[in-house]
């Protein structure tokens, strides 16, 4: 139990320092090193994702970075995706989940290697009467460097919603926050400022994860001896990670994690192939 606590705390601290939830590290560690069934690891990781989201949402909300109107709009799509994921998860064999997970890890590594660019705004205000305007989703956030609110517009809402559906699906299947799909959805499709998209995405993943978490809870695969320590570890890890974020050199850190993600992907593929390097030792 102590190692679960330590692993999830470390994973969430790392995740928090990179501005994401730790699920991406928790699931591979539990399955590859702990020899747990991936379905149980995913259920435990869902709790970790909720814990990270709820724990850090407060400070984002207090700073006025979260666009809650946009969040609830996109949550319709992410929870639908999660519902789909819950329906199919039980029918998928563990090996295919491992392969899917490895693919997501590799895509994340590639994304992280490239870094996130600020969206380049190609202004086409010709179509003012779009959905986002009708729903009054455009907003502003306080920017301390300028000392005045920065206004932004939400674009291509339908593409964003489609990507969010995929993000919800992946999140339910793999027990992760699935920033891997949310980041392109928010940066490229909706063209949000990075601070707003981080805060809003963080706010949303809790609800997405709750949709699948509630199902896994009733299915009885949420084991308190595993999910409990993971939840506690995540709360403290996320708290620690948010503080580390301010101190550590971002660039070097990012390169290290690209390496870690690739390594985990390889291990997940080996697990999928039925090769358990440490399962007998655990």
């Amino acid at each position: 139990m102590l190692w679960l606590l330590a692993v999830s705390m470390g994973a969430s601290a790392i995740g928090g320092a990179l501005g994401m939830a730790g699920g991406m590290f928790i699931v591979p560690l539990l399955t590859v090193c702990g020899g747990l069934d991936i379905h149980i690891a995913v259920a435990a990781s869902i709790v970790s994702v909720i814990a990270c989201s709820c724990g850090s949402a407060a400070s984002f909300l207090a700073h006025g970075l979260t666009n809650i109107r946009l969040a609830i709009t996109l949550e319709v799509a992410t929870t639908l995706g999660a519902l789909t994921g819950v329906c199919v998860a039980g029918h998928l064999p563990a090996s295919s989940l491992c392969v899917l997970f490895a693919a997501v890890l590799l895509i994340s590594a590639w994304q992280m290697a490239g870094g996130r660019r600020a969206p380049i705004d190609s202004i086409d205000d010709t179509r003012i009467t779009d959905w986002a305007t009708a729903l009054r989703l455009h907003s502003s956030y306080p920017d301390p460097t300028h000392g005045r609110p920065m206004f932004y517009r939400v674009r291509r809402l339908r593409l964003g919603l489609a990507l969010m559906y995929g993000a919800g699906l992946i999140s339910a299947l793999l027990g992760i926050g699935s920033g891997v799909l949310k980041i392109p959805a928010m940066d490229s499709a909706l063209r949000l400022p990075i601070k707003v998209s981080s805060a809003t995405s963080n706010f949303m993943i809790g609800v997405t994860a709750a949709a699948s978490g509630v199902a896994y809870f009733f299915q009885g695969i949420m084991q308190p001896m595993i999910a409990g320590p993971v939840a506690i570890g995540s709360v403290f890890g996320a708290w620690l990670g948010a503080r580390l974020l301010l101190r550590l050199p971002g660039e070097k850190l990012r390169l290290v994690f690209v390496g870690v993600l690739v390594l985990l992907a390889v291990q997940m593929l080996l697990t999928a192939a039925g090769f358990h390097p440490t399962a007998h030792a655990a």
């Binding site: 006025g64 809650i68 994860a209 699948s212 809870f217 949420m222």
Partner: protein, 101 residues
Amino acid sequence: MNQSSLEQLLARVLSVGTWLGTAIIAAGLGLRCMAWGQGQSAQVCMRMASLGIALFILLPVLRVALMAVAFIRMRDFVFTAMATTVLVIIGLAACFGTPAG
């Protein structure tokens, strides 16, 4: 209620809920590890840990419910409908998770 006071309320609820959930799980697991870990009382401890986990899962749901109520009070019915839809979808997921019979 305006939007910024809604944001403050959500921030409070989420942070209080997080620490409460953590405390309940920690208490359950802690007692399980101590001398209580036998028979009937061990089950009670596990129930407690499960309760804490359930609280975590319900926290975002509560957040959406609060938003739905706030949108009603702001007379913003499109957003009330969206928040309600999210709640219905989560309800469906819960029904799907409940074993039949």
